[in-house]
Amino acid sequence: MRFRGPLADSYLGAVALVVFALIPYLALTSAITPLDPILAKDLGLSKQALQLTTGLANAAYAFGTVLAVQFAVHLRGRRMLILYATLFVIGSIVAAWAPTSGLFIAGRVLQGMCTSLMLIAAVPPLVIGWPASKMPWTGATMNMCVFGAVALGPVIGGVQAGAAAWRPLFWIIAGTGAVALLFAVLTFEDVGPQDHSAPWDWVAIVLAGGGCAAAFFGSAQLQTHSLTSLIVLAPLLVGVAMVVTLVIYQYTVRRPLMPVRQLSTTFPVAGIVVAMSAGAASVAVIELVQTALAAKDPTHTAMLFWPQFGGALVTAALFGALFRTRFIPVLVLCGTVLLSGGAAVLVGVASGPQMLVLVGSGLVGLGVGASVSPALFMAGFSVRSAQIQRVFALIELLRGVAAFMVAPILLHLALTVGATPAAGISTAMWVSLGIAAGGGALSLYIVLLGRARLQRPDLERWEGGDEPAWESPPLAAGIRGEATAPRLVREIG
């Protein structure tokens, strides 16, 4: 008889699995900056090596999304989830224990990869595996996991840095991973692979892996090199080119790993633009603020980030409330406006009063909470629910590449472009504002070009698996098939 976990029918069990699987690493991505000096001293790692470690861990996170989809096609998803959770626990223990710097780096990379593997393996079943009435709760939970954790990171990292230690945090992460593993076992219900007949898409895997590794390696080198130096620019450009090639390849190939062609309609493209721009701007803003306040007491600095977490909680609840309404695209747009407002307030963070951080981080929390995760669903609702796993994989890959690649570049800009560090941080913050506002404006423009109208998502129809939750017009539908002069003349004549 096959094993079936005692919580296999429990929605709360499935939610707990996703929460404990995603929060640790995502919180760590924004918690690690205040801990850098302690890590460097304790592990004997240079700033460059630490930056590279973070870069490679983020590259593994981005690459893991593609790998997870490929594994889900050919291997048994729930068994793989247990394997991913186990590897995450091992990686976390190795990183927390870390007698040598090499083991710390290996542990961090394993953490990054396993988190995205768990994300793609665990989240889609939570979204579509339960009745439609649960979906708003799932949306709010996703919002908390994807951004709430990132919002909480600076608080956790600052408090831990104030205690002048880093290992306790990493042991807590290992413990949280163990809880995720426990829930993976308790909610276990064996399912077969999605499609044994599908080919292994080695081209996509090589392009995603190589592209992420090269791009993140290049951006990590900015700690000690200029943007125009060969060791930075070459891998950065090659990496970005490989990721772009991956998207084009997936658009053209007959049996793609990720449904790029199906996503090439108005709402998904608008959603992806927002997810990428808001993700990039928010990570950069948080890191810039942490850099600006690096000389201050880390515990005090950590407290200044509480409004960000509060903002994430509020928008998670708001997203849940609006989930069944036609206002999700409006929420996404408002999110980009709030995020831009947050970046505008934080322009003076390096020289202004600390009240700016309280207000700015609150706005950033509200902004990102209202934009990234809702944008994910904006894209997801436009395709059949059966595709949701692949949709999330593509968006998380692109968001991860944008977010974790842009932040080091802007940090480098902040430290090199201005006459003083304060001026440099101000300039980089303006650029972040431009990214957020530009992404929001472009997204709105795409919707206007498609003449898309706001629609209520039909969750019951979507859950059926054969149709999208709403109709997304083709790209630029509003200006297609336009009458040209010769044609009109023929018609008139």
Binding site: Y445, I479, A483, T484, I492
Partner: protein, 144 residues
């Protein structure tokens, strides 16, 4: 008036203003003028792009104009001194030139359309006649 005509005329006037300002003001004032003109060009072209009936040639020009406008915004905030002055000159000249091409293309297409509709009209008839014929035939409503 068609959206093609209005947007190209606006860009031509704005770019000519920037061109003149390049020689009238110093770099500090020109920085914000270039920023404003670049931003306005992006907004106007992006707004006009939403209209139907602009045709592929004009849409190509729109994209290039929007890119130059966007670059003008970025360069106005990124450079200073003589580099800023020369960049503003080049950007203004490029935008004015493209707008002029847009206006010429627009006029050529309109005239060609009228000629093809009735070859007897275009060369022989006066300007007023041409306009009235266009209105009669509904040709002027292409851009709507």
């Amino acid at each position: 008036m068609t959206s093609r005509f209005v947007s190209n005329l606006f860009v031509l006037v704005a770019a000519s203003f920037l061109l003149a300002a390049r020689f009238a003001f110093g770099a500090p004032a020109l920085r914000w003028l270039a920023f404003g003109v670049g931003g306005l060009v992006v907004l106007v072209v992006a707004g006009a792009f939403l209209a139907r009936g602009r045709g592929p040639a004009q849409r190509g020009l729109d994209v290039v104009l929007a890119l130059i406008g966007g670059w003008t915004v970025v360069s106005s905030l990124s450079f200073s001194g003589s580099v800023l002055l020369w960049l503003a000159l080049l950007e203004a000249a490029a935008m004015a030139g493209l707008a002029l091409i847009g206006l010429i293309l627009h006029e050529a297409v309109m005239e060609s359309a009228v000629t093809r509709w009735d070859p007897l009209l275009a060369p022989a008839a006066g300007w007023g006649d041409g306009v009235s014929q266009r209105q009669h035939a509904g040709v002027a409503g292409w851009e709507r």
